[in-house]
Amino acid sequence: MFYDRTLSSRLMLGTAQYPSPQILRDAIAASGADVITVSLRREGQEGGDFRRILKDSGCRILPNTAGCHSVREAVTTAHMARELFGTDWIKLEVIGHADTLQPDPFALVEAARILSEDGFQVFPYTTEDLIVGEKLIEAGCRVLMPWGAPIGSGQGLRHLDALRSMRAHFPDIPLVIDAGIGAPSQAMMAMEMGFDAVLLNTAVAKAVDPVGMARAFGQAVVAGQLAHQAGLMPPRDMAVASTPIFGLAALA
């Protein structure tokens, strides 16, 4: 449940950097995602076409505050997004570093508190830091979105042990791996580890065939979710024969 809402797909898809509006449209459909993320930018010419794509997709819109570096910018952007998209959902990004696009955890928690008190349902883009996660929950967040790797890097799950700890530390909070996913195998791994969803953009938009890659990610996320539900076997150090020894012919 993501703020009392059940999602039919655990893949959340970004809408930026696609080769064409039609490919964006087809990629959303092929992915099966029912949440897509969008931004706000200075009024341009292509706004009308984009609004139509959003509407036609039938997806729930998760506006973001991408590009904001301060509490004030993020809060103002969130208010503008709420009015424009008619949703209390906001993917809260407060960037702390221009090279790594790492979130500024102090500003993030402050902005999350302000927005939560104002009725927003905040999806904070955060690191895997457990204490920051706790502070975000205290601030009113009911979902956390730890990064897999720096935005757009395609490195996958860079801090596996830390992400495992985070999953264990917040068993009842929906956790979405947001950013850094480069391949369907990485998205599947996140789901196998018990994360509740993955959010990605560049890995699909910059694939040779974005529509094909969107489909691959959609299926990987389903496979990972099924695997987690089914329960993975524990790894072993030694081989254990899978074929029974009983009844083995004596042919030596």
Binding site: G14, T15, A16, Q17, Y18, L24, T37, V38, S39, L40, R41, R42, E43, G44, G47, G48, F50, R51, L54, P63, N64, A66, R72, E73, T76, H79, M80, A81, E83, L84, F85, I151, G152, L200, N201, T202, A205
Partner: protein, 65 residues
């Protein structure tokens, strides 16, 4: 008067934010506005007077990740 619209020095005859949106030919329901860094809800655009040098942001939905 001259204002700052989306980072560009802009000359306008509009006296209010609502008039500015109309003057620019924008669909009022498809944009969100901020004045001097503060969000201005749709319902307050009529009552938001512009003065020379006012910094205005008019934003619309855009592709994002």
């Amino acid at each position: 008067m001259q204002i700052d619209l989306n980072g560009q020095p802009t000359v306008t005859l509009a006296a209010t934010l609502a008039q500015l949106i109309a003057e620019r030919g924008l669909d009022a329901a498809s944009v969100a506005t901020a004045v001097n860094g503060e969000f201005v809800p749709r319902g307050l655009r009529d009552g938001t007077a512009l003065t020379p040098g006012t910094r205005i942001e008019i934003l619309s939905p855009m592709q994002g990740g």
